[in-house]
Symmetry: C2
Subunit: 207 residues, 2 copies
DNA sequence: TACGTTATTGTCCGTCCAGTCAAAAACTTG
DNA sequence: CAAGTTTTTGACTGGACGGACAATAACGTA
């Protein structure tokens, strides 16, 4: 009945995500987005409404995808919950020390939000909470399997891991290398280790 | 011999800092700076060179000041090194959960830097390293006083604390409340507690 | 008090950028 | 193949922003 679109919405959002992750909401220009997505300005407008709206789309997609990725990493049933968290943090250490300039859109939203009611704050907070829930679920399993004490505060620990991983993201972007980031991850994990287990291993230099 | 300035440079930098901390480098307009500092555009130019240069001035001041503040907090000789770190983190939890929209300029530089050679990256990295050194010094004392094991990797732990505190900063900005942030801080500290000491205390809700 | 020097003030300019308008194109359906 | 609907294309606009210019003001010094 009408002219069909030449693009797939999710592809466009994904390309836009990349732009926003590298440049940020304020710094990304509509031209950047046009170039990255291949669409014309007007098409972007028709489909999404504007830069800001497109960012929100990208943000929620990024958020879901991040939560899904973490959730998946924490779901390998060939390892115990604690081992999964450990593996996950070590993978993050590598990812975050890569040289691409990406920053998660949740962090972007967090940092670029100005007033309370630009919507960015609340969206970012949702991202934080969603992530925390994923960690909490895994920690809950760890508690059930008695890998961590029964009186451990799962909610608090979940937030703790969100905090550590966000910090690692920033450090990675600052140029802190893989070895140092891995050491940070291992240090962070010691919170979960009771009295047993290796301690203070893995000397790390920052490169 | 010539007309004297009506302003004190450090005051101007300080006011500019505030603007940059709240709005960011890209989002802050010259008008914002003019309004906040009380100077005219041209005066800003004469004295500093431009928005970017002014940001770098603000950044290095902010960096020094942050390092000095942490250093001071970690230097109270009425408490052991570990107790000082603990106190410091608890103070940060309160600060970061305050509702002002400030973000440390080091974090700003980190997130807003695009290419490698815009200078922001390196400046931000310097801020990270400076902070790490402060923590390392205190941790070294802790080791000397046998509060942490002799084989503890002080460098790595220092980076770990930088990571945690940066993460806490982001969480605070996301609206995570004081109680939850305090719980995160206490969790983070458990890394330093050997076999002794309270564990998993302080239940926390996020508000 | 006149001069040299530097700060200040206000105006102006080129650029960039988000968003709009209007016309042409493409596809479906009848 | 014609009508109708929606997308695409490309040019346009109004405004904001960083930065520059030129004239004036203020101060120290001789």
């Amino acid at each position: 009945m009408a002219r069909p679109r030449k693009f797939v919405e999710s592809d466009v959002v994904s390309s836009a995500s990349e732009v926003f992750a590298v440049r940020g909401l304020a710094a990304a220009t509509l031209d950047d987005l046009v170039r990255a997505t291949g669409l014309g300005k007007q098409s972007l407008y028709n489909a999404f409404g504007g830069k800001r709206e497109l960012f929100f789309r990208a943000l929620s997609e990024d958020r879901e995808e991040a939560a899904r990725a973490v959730s998946e990493a924490l779901a390998h049933d060939d390892a115990s919950p604690l081992e999964r968290i450990r593996g996950h943090l070590l993978v993050l250490a590598i990812e975050f020390s890569s040289s691409d300039r990406r920053v998660s859109l949740t962090t972007r939203a967090l940092v670029e939000s100005t007033g309370e009611e630009d919507g960015l704050s609340t969206a970012a907070r949702a991202g934080i909470d969603q992530l925390a829930e994923v960690y909490a679920a895994c920690l809950e399993h760890a508690r059930e399997e008695k890998e961590i004490p029964a009186d451990a505060n799962v909610q608090s620990l979940a937030m703790y891991f969100v905090s550590v991983t966000r910090g690692m993201e920033l450090l990675g972007r600052a140029g802190v290398g893989r070895a140092a980031l891995t050491a940070v991850a291992l240090d962070a994990l010691r919170v979960l280790q009771g009295e047993s287990g290796a301690r203070h291993g893995d000397p790390a230099r920052r490169d």
